[in-house]
Symmetry: C2
């Protein structure tokens, strides 16, 4: 059987779904707007995309996106449906950059469509010859942090931006001495002139190693090494040489291919931040769905992947977050699971609902304000998060568990409604 890439789309069109699906298949394989001399039956057969299925969803009276054409003389009704196409693998080989030009490419701009979204992809295992997948994933991250029976609890350096390396020092010291599992730089704090990455690394690793000597536990710190391609390996090496054990990148700033370039060199887990993701996904009939996106991120080798959190400051619903977590944990090829990272407006009180909905502890739960703004300081904030999860996993109401756990009690008073 021919090797294929299967791509699932949501579309909206004033044409018949059948016609629209044919336009998609033609545009992204052998077609143009005119029949051409060289376009033989043999070429079509060997290189043409095929329609696997078309499923009608509904008809609406106004278009989701502007600029769509309506067939001559017809009343504008816009048909929504799911279209599944199959593309011959040998049209691109194991190359994500070229895969993208084929399965997305010009589709979003075609005037036959008032909506088009890539929902899912199914890739042949041949892609794993070129893309290495998560090097550490869930088990490797658990092993490096020493956390086994609960979620990995982390925080973000706050304020987001502006701390000079020596101002960062006492904060990292306090968190590391409290035995926090994980700390990350903010995504807007990369390699700014006032706090260069190499100086941050020096200060942070000094504090982390010193705390580890005392506590016996080495906090994982995700340094934001996001930068131009030619600096990624160097930035990574600075972290590793200083004894660091995690790097973070803004995935969409460097692309899948930039991430793969880092992965092939990396010796530590890659913490994937998905800022800028909203621009690709927020309209339900445009862009890319998380299900397709996270497969590409995992294939190229992200170990941790941000998915927002329940009850966050972001637009997406809890259902969407739950689905995203489940996507990351669903095996692809022979595993390739990435650790889902829940963040935004997180604090101890979110643990019960998160555990109830997700039914897993294989997550990283990151709190910024929920740790830093704890009345007794960040170390107490971290302990309150642990206590919240202990209560959630044991099925004990937070108020009851707080009776004997002071940090949780303080968190409930400060961050809870009552």
């Amino acid at each position: 059987m021919k090797k294929q890439v299967i791509a699932t789309y949501l579309i909206e069109t004033a044409y018949s779904l059948e016609h629209a699906a044919q336009v998609m298949a033609g545009e992204q394989s052998t077609g143009t707007f005119l029949a051409l001399p060289g376009e033989t039956e043999k070429i079509k057969q060997e290189h043409g995309a095929e329609i696997i299925s078309i499923k009608e969803i509904e008809t609406v009276s106004s278009p989701s996106l502007p600029g769509a054409k309506v067939p001559d003389g017809s009343i504008a009704n816009y048909h929504r449906g799911e279209v599944i196409l199959s593309f011959p693998y040998h049209n691109f080989g194991p190359s994500i950059p070229n895969l993208l030009a084929t399965i997305t490419g010009n589709l979003y701009e075609l005037e036959e469509f008032s909506g088009l979204r890539l929902m899912d992809i199914d890739l042949p295992i041949d892609f794993t010859e070129n893309y290495l997948g998560p090097q550490f994933g869930i088990e490797g991250t658990r092993s490096l942090t020493g956390v086994t029976e609960r979620p990995i609890i982390g925080t973000i350096i706050k304020p987001n931006i502006g701390l000079k390396p020596e101002e960062l020092r006492p904060l990292v010291r306090e968190l590391a001495l409290a035995g926090i599992d994980f700390i990350k730089d903010d995504e807007i704090n990369g390699n700014p002139p006032f706090a260069p990455l190499k100086d941050r690394i020096k200060v942070v690793m000094e504090e982390i190693e010193r705390a580890a000597d005392i506590t016996g536990k080495k906090t994982m710190y995700a340094f934001n090494i996001t930068d131009d391609i030619e600096n990624l390996h160097h930035n990574h090496d600075l972290v590793v040489e200083a004894g660091g054990n995690c790097v973070m990148v803004s995935i969409n700033s460097i692309g899948y291919s930039g991430l793969s370039y880092l992965r092939k060199h990396s010796q530590v887990p890659i913490h994937g931040h998905r800022n800028q993701w909203g621009l690709m996904t927020r309209h339900p009939y445009l862009g890319i769905d998380f299900t397709a996106y996270q497969k590409l991120c995992r294939l190229v080798g992200v170990d941790h992947l941000h998915v927002n959190g329940l009850n966050s400051k972001f637009y997406d619903s809890n259902e969407s977050v739950i689905k995203s977590v489940s996507d990351c944990l669903k095996p692809m090829f022979n595993g390739y699971e990435a650790l889902p990272v829940l963040s935004s407006k997180q604090w101890a009180g979110q643990a019960p609902v998160t555990y109830e909905k997700l039914k897993t502890i294989d997550i990283m739960n990151i709190a910024g304000g929920g740790i830093h703004a704890h009345p007794s300081g960040p170390a107490a904030g971290f302990r309150s998060m642990i206590q919240g999860w202990e209560a959630a996993m044991a099925g004990i109401p937070l108020n009851k568990y707080a009776e004997k756990n002071q940090e949780l009690k303080e968190a409930l008073i400060k961050f809870g409604k009552g």
Copy 2:
């Protein structure tokens, strides 16, 4: 004065525009959802983003994007406006990957917004220390092709995909012998197993050199070298070693940073294809506007940039294409113009309207079907395009000019309505 990056946005929100602008500035600089101990006035002053201006546009009754929050107890009215923010340059330095995390970042996902689009950016000249801009641009491309007094006329290899190297040979020979200015690979044809890039390069360059020996003119061929980062330099070198004088990449497959990585190594013009662009731009209240996008592409060093064509198969209006051409030709820093590439449904008959609307000949005009499907073959198709532009520039009606120009006449009969 502090160096700043100025970013202009269109937003839509159920909150006041003032409140929404404050949320944007806080999220992307020093803020979080809680006041924090370390967030001093000094840090806010040195690192906070500032609101430059807010301009109300209109109020609408339904949101453009899902998931937006409405203030407690209010009736949902969505205010649209233009917001201009200023970000301290020293928050990121001359790094586009980190700039993006700041000026776009999480903004698209914030629940305060039912629409958000980056319209324009204004960068300090310091970015040019790290990003090299177009190496050849318009003048360099004219010099390499020897075309001075008219648009550069090109075509795309058709069928898009499926030709083996030896099947490509006669097509390239015919086009090169006809003295065509420019040929490009299709964007879906990268480095597929059945027609590897290195074999394509060999065949194509043999034919181009052989034709040049006869005609005295060396056709510019843009080889699609799109690939993973670690292959870009190698692919480029294969082209240059074979005597090729142009490379093409799918910009959005490798990212601005991947493009910059190629530019710093490149010895030939970079032909920038913007496939996948629709997913970032098609909704008017989401994503990125071309004005901002093309500045980043030019800064990192694209020489040619696709903008669709007038009356194309794509959704965007002629006004949008005209604006895009004008954007590419507007000086940035001390020049940095990129050659706008007009394609899709182009043929000889498009020249007059294109010239009338654009009022410039500093474009590349690419026809696929309009050249390949010409009744007398591709060489005649190319000549018909030249004749179309000659007529347009001289202000002579096409029908009249066709009386003495057979190829144009045939094109009008085949592709025109009459």
